[in-house]
């Protein structure tokens, strides 16, 4: 009862902060290959956006290769390239172009960045016009990094992790809670089964069911949103995807044992379930980019296993990434799974 009162208030805080109306602090790398007066002007305008509405977090990077790699790994959400000879072209009133590389695997961030940068550059145009009284032919050429991705498709990693969460929630540890509630667990405590046998058995059954659930959701979700990833990703990437799903499931199964290990009424699980879903899912970056969160929520996202699952699945599905791009995620998920299963076993009491 107390929990069902408290939880909605916590939702408010979490949801309110993970869905702030405007996106903030989206990391954008700027590669200035020109170094002329106009490129400096552009930089100033960007800095103004950073200082003002704080939509962007501008980082000046010297090496375009490094910036692009950062973009692919998700460190930057976009890379702006000011080509060599930009200032000269502007002065000669030639066609001058600024390149904008967008991580379109996150639709909302990409749209916001494009709007923000276009806005900043239009200021330059106006200024330019007023000085020279002639219209310069300057334009922003944006390049989407990956083949076109619809918004509903970008939600697929989130939907899969939600399936994993719900699977973990209703199998494994929950079976144990139900058995306790129905008094059935007494009869297997009376057998020679050890605590490890019981916990591992429940986790193994939960893992099997949840992995299938997640795969079904992945396929059906892809069909509905028209992603058809099976044509787009390699067998290796699919194996990595499976590894991410299995490790995420294992981690969440362990987490459920940690949380539910001592609970013996399903009603409490119901309340906790809704709560956990919100606090794990929304800060995972599945819907809104983590960069826009306030510091404390960002810190939570940093230790939230779902963040890593979403990041890895997004990279594998949309960015044709290989092991290198997701090994960090997989390592985190593996360590999390190991720790949570061990702690889950510690919490579980083989006694009435």
């Amino acid at each position: 009862m107390a929990m069902s009162l408290l939880m909605p208030i916590i939702y408010l805080v979490i949801l309110g902060n993970s869905f702030q109306g405007e996106l903030k602090n989206l990391p954008v790398a700027v590669v200035d290959l020109d170094g002329g007066p106009y490129s400096e002007k552009v930089m100033e305008l960007f800095r103004a956006v950073e200082a003002g509405p704080a939509t962007l977090d501008i980082m000046q990077v010297a090496d375009q290769g490094f910036a692009m790699e950062g973009l692919r790994e998700g460190v930057f959400k976009a890379v702006v390239v000011i080509p060599g000879g930009f200032s000269r072209d502007v002065m000669r009133r030639n066609l001058s172009e600024i390149g904008l590389y967008l991580d379109n695997a996150e639709t909302i961030s990409a749209l916001t960045i494009r709007a923000s940068i276009t806005g900043a550059l239009s200021a330059l145009k106006d200024e330019f016009v007023s000085i020279r009284e002639e219209r310069a032919q300057m334009r922003l050429r944006d390049i989407e990094l990956y083949k076109k991705i619809d918004y509903d498709q970008t939600l697929i990693p989130g939907v899969v992790i939600m399936a994993i969460f719900l699977g973990a929630m209703t199998t494994g540890a929950f079976n144990m809670v139900m058995d306790k509630f129905l008094g059935v667990e007494e009869s297997y405590f009376l057998t020679p089964l050890s605590k490890t046998d019981i916990v591992m058995g429940l986790i193994a059954s939960g893992l099997l069911i949840t992995t299938f659930l997640a795969l079904i959701v992945l396929f059906v979700g892809s069909l509905i949103s028209g992603l058809f990833f099976w044509g787009g990703i390699s067998f290796g990437a699919f194996v990595l995807m499976l590894a991410v799903i299995i490790l995420s499931t294992l981690g969440l199964q362990g987490l459920m044992f940690m949380i539910m290990g001592r609970i013996n009424h399903p009603r409490i699980v119901g309340v906790l379930g809704g709560f956990l879903n919100v606090i794990l899912f929304f800060p995972s970056g599945a819907i809104y980019p983590i960069e826009s969160f306030p510091g404390w929520l960002k810190a939570f996202a940093f230790v939230n296993p779902e963040t890593y699952s979403v990041h890895a699945m997004r990279a594998l599905l949309f960015k044709s990434a290989g092991l290198q791009a997701v090994q960090g995620d997989i390592a985190f998920l593996a360590v999390f799974a190991l720790i949570s299963v061990l702690l889950g076993m510690l919490v579980f009491k083989r006694a009435l």
Partner: protein
């Protein structure tokens, strides 16, 4: 060897003493009954013997193994039928048996035969492929008894096996227990608060109340120890009641006699055996016996004698006002 042996077993929950020093000896092959009202400590004792609870003080051994230090070994040697129905509703009868046989590490060959044999004995062979959810209470209980025996335990422990069953199912369970006991030379420990259950099944009975054993003997032995005997009421006409009372008091086996209007009240060691002599004697005096009523001494009388009250009905469960029924017991209290 002693099948079950406890010495000064104490279990305390905070201030509450559930067991206040219980010492028991149950030889192998005995059918031993623990009789007591709800809350007397029967289930606590069972849970200590079945390694689910640790005693606060004292020791308990099952087939020579300490229940705390050698708990895994003890669990392999005992078969238990807990008080609550503990069979999983989502499994079939056969699956229930099979999964438990696996828990005990039985081999495939061993399993199949044993399961068929047991399901046949408890009369569930035809329902083996049905979900437990479709079983009646009596069927579930029979399945649980079969489940408790699947690994051929040395000791079978049953906690209130017939609680909540209809009289017919109760008799079926009793017959089953008799059969298993004779077939497998089992030691059986049974708790109950049904007098007739203890009387009809048990070799020896311990009466337990407020966590202590107040009496322990065979059922006839327990009855012998108490002064209340069988009582006989006879409706008599055509005889001088004063004379009849004086005469009756002299009969062998009769302890007291009195009358109330035309009813003669006689107390005897063996009421049923005394009746013919009394009836004949009264006829000899010219009287006519219209009716005879015998009230035999029961374990209930024994129970009242030792505890000072009849076996009480279940106390109301404490339920948390805020959280509702079925919340963790710690919160509920």
């Amino acid at each position: 060897m002693r099948a079950i042996e406890t010495t000064d077993l104490v279990k305390k929950y905070g201030e509450l003493t559930a067991l206040g020093g219980v010492s028991l000896d149950v030889p192998e092959g005995e059918f031993f009954g623990l009789l007591g009202p709800n809350g007397a400590g029967k289930t606590t004792l069972i849970r200590i013997l079945t390694t689910l609870l640790k005693p606060t003080a004292g020791a308990a051994r099952v087939m020579g193994h300490d229940v705390v230090k050698e708990n895994a070994l003890v669990r392999a040697l005992i078969g238990v039928v807990p008080q609550a129905m503990t069979s999983d509703l989502d499994l079939t009868g056969y699956e229930t048996m099979d999964i438990y046989a696996r828990f005990y590490g039985m081999h495939r060959k061993e399993r199949g035969g044993r399961i068929d044999e047991l399901l046949d004995m408890v009369g569930l062979k035809d329902r083996a492929k049905d979900l437990v959810a479709t079983y009646s209470g009596g069927m579930r209980r029979r399945l649980e008894i079969a489940r408790g025996l699947v690994h051929k335990p040395a000791v079978l422990i049953l906690d209130e096996p017939t609680i909540g069953l209809d009289p017919q199912s109760r008799h079926v369970v009793w017959e089953l227990l008799e059969r298993f006991r004779n077939a497998d030379k089992l030691t059986i420990l049974l708790t109950t608060h049904y007098m007739e259950e203890a009387e009809s099944l048990c070799d020896r009975v311990a009466i337990i109340d407020y966590g202590k054993i107040v009496a322990l003997d065979t059922v006839p032995g327990l009855k012998k120890q108490i002064p209340q005997k069988d009582s006989i009421e006879l409706g008599v006409t055509g005889v001088d009641m004063e004379r009849a009372v004086e005469w009756a008091k002299k009969l062998s086996g009769v302890t007291t006699a009195s009358y109330r209007e035309s009813t003669l009240l006689v107390s005897a060691d063996h009421g049923a055996e005394a009746i013919p002599a009394i009836v004949e004697g009264l006829r000899g005096m010219g009287g006519r016996v219209a009716r005879v009523m015998l009230k035999e001494q029961t374990l209930e009388d024994v129970f009242i004698h030792y505890t000072g009250r009849p076996i009480r009905e279940e106390e109301a469960k404490k339920v948390s006002f805020l959280l509702g029924a079925g919340v963790p017991t710690k919160w509920g209290k």
